[in-house]
């Protein structure tokens, strides 16, 4: 058993080395496939990042009546927080804070400060600023809760209806980007897998007659299949190593350039934080595909 196993490995390495051209072609198409799969994962990471960036900028604000006490507002905040698990962040902005933010934002614009002086008092209302984890529907639900009788005594208005169109548009665009990217990526990966199958088929086909001779001399199916499958694994392993090194180097050196286009997105850090997933994807696509393709292609010739 062990002797057979050793022989299978030895046959595989010898054949790999003797058919350098075919081996190189197989490794090359596997590299392309792995890079596509890796790219797809990266693309997903980038869109997720972009979507969260945009979604962070979306919120609804509940403005409280002038006479609502801070205590009431905080109580309502806690109640809402308990009621809706979709809330990502809920921030209390007092009258004073709102004024501070406003003056800070427009300190260079004398028109605004003059207008404030005209009013003579703090015109801002205390508010709760709410961000959810996801869809436009969640915002609508929270907005509806805030407008129920329990709260309407304290709340002056909720600005959901003003923002509704923008919120819905943003969510529609982001989900479209996600779906489009995923479909395109999956199509590309399928095409790449077919190319891998074809290349390995060519590699095995050149040994078609030898496989039939192996059967004539009484070799068992595993003794025939073994070297081809091992070769598939070798193609995959080499392709994995190439892709892995390429991924590390490219994310490391291009990280700053990507950071210019996508501020705050660090490609290298993204790679490191998903290190094991990347290894799994690359190994899976490399070795898994190499082995599966060889297995399926050889099986055809073992039947004849």
């Amino acid at each position: 058993m062990l002797t057979n196993f050793k022989r299978i490995i030895k046959f595989a390495f010898t054949d790999f080395w003797r058919n350098k051209g075919i081996s190189l072609a197989a490794v090359f198409v596997l590299v392309i496939t792995i890079m596509l799969a890796t790219g797809l994962f990266f693309f997903q990471g980038i869109t997720k990042y972009l979507v969260s960036q945009v979604q962070d900028k979306i919120d609804i604000t509940a403005y409280f009546k002038e006479d609502a006490s801070e205590e009431d507002i905080l109580k309502i905040r806690d109640e809402i927080l308990k009621m809706s698990p979709d809330i990502k962040k809920i921030e209390y902005v007092s009258k004073e804070d709102a004024l501070k933010v406003f003056t800070e934002k427009h300190k260079d614009n004398s028109v605004f400060s003059k207008a404030l002086e005209e009013v003579g008092q703090n015109p801002f209302l205390p508010s709760l600023n709410i961000t959810t984890t996801g869809s436009a529907l969640q915002y609508e639900q929270i907005s509806n809760i805030l407008q129920t009788e329990d709260y309407s005594a304290f709340i002056d208005k909720v600005d959901f209806s003003q923002k509704k169109d923008t919120i819905e548009k943003v969510f529609a665009i982001t989900s479209n980007i996600n779906a489009f990217g995923l479909i395109l990526g999956v199509i590309l990966v399928i095409v790449a897998i077919l190319v891998v199958f074809n290349t390995i088929k060519l590699a095995v086909e050149s040994s078609k007659n030898e496989i039939s001779t192996m059967r004539i001399v009484g070799a068992s199916n595993w003794f025939i299949r073994g070297p081809f499958i091992t070769q598939g694994a070798i193609y995959g392993l080499i392709a994995f190593i190439i892709c892995f090194i390429f991924s590390i180097l490219s994310t490391y050196f291009l990280s700053s350039k990507i950071g210019v286009i996508l501020p705050g997105f660090n490609a290298f850090r993204y790679f490191l934080s998903n290190f094991w997933i990347f290894i799994l994807i690359q190994l899976g696509f490399g070795i898994g595909l190499g082995i599966a393709a060889s297995f399926i292609v050889v099986r055809k010739y073992l039947r004849i």
Partner: protein, 226 residues
């Protein structure tokens, strides 16, 4: 040892290759199967090796029904039959040494035994000098000798040669046939399929003649009559 019992082989829809063929081959016999191209000689050998299933009838090798046995036993049976073909059927990606060694690897023989047996048979067959060459670097005669070395290395019970001299010149033909005679003298059963009149007439051994898929003659000391 080998028995064909009322074997008929029909390729769909109605190409009859063999029709009610029956004969027996005893241990140590030298049997020539003769017939025109397309008479069904190769099909006969493929049936014996279990690569074809008879449409009706049975094929036995050492009392094993070839078509009803398990895949594993079929593989074991094939290891007991050394096969030689007109187109050599060598492993073109392996060296002369590896071609012969492969047969012993298939049987799970230890490396020491392989290292001992392979040079021995290559020496007998006269290919010691070409041990590290690839088949493409050999002449036709040498390639066929390599095929014979490969068929002999594991001391099989039977040698089956399907038109082994079809691609060879008269000198190499003579060499191959005398090798087969020697193997037979050493006690092995030899089945030779050929359409070469001169070989048959010179051998003076048993001849089974096939015409249009039927056995028309089976003579102890036959001649080539078609």
């Amino acid at each position: 040892m080998i028995r064909f019992k009322n074997v008929t082989k029909i390729y769909s829809p109605n190409t009859i290759v063999l029709q009610d063929v029956s004969f027996e081959v005893e241990k140590g016999e030298f049997v020539s199967i003769v017939g025109k191209s397309g008479a069904g000689k190769t099909t006969l050998i493929r049936l014996l090796l279990g690569f074809e299933t008879p449409t009706s009838g049975e094929v036995y090798f050492q009392d094993i029904n070839v078509n009803e046995t398990s895949a594993q036993r079929l593989q074991e049976m094939r290891r007991k039959i050394g096969s030689i073909f007109q187109d050599y059927r060598l492993f073109y990606g392996k060296t002369v040494y590896e071609n012969v060694a492969y047969i012993l690897s298939v049987e799970g023989k230890e490396n020491e035994e392989i290292d001992r047996e392979v040079p021995k048979i290559l020496d007998i067959i006269g290919l010691s000098e070409k041990i590290n060459n690839f088949p493409n670097e050999l002449s036709g005669g040498e390639q066929q000798r390599l095929a014979i070395a490969r068929a002999l290395v594991n001391y099989p019970d039977v040698i089956v040669a399907d038109e082994p001299t079809g691609n060879l010149d008269p000198y190499n033909t003579y060499e191959v046939i005398s090798l087969l005679e020697k193997i037979n003298k050493a006690g092995k059963t030899v089945i030779l399929s050929t359409h070469d009149r001169e070989i048959i007439n010179k051998l003076g051994k048993r001849v089974i003649t096939i015409e249009n898929g039927k056995v028309v003659r089976d003579e102890k000391k036959g001649r080539f009559i078609i």
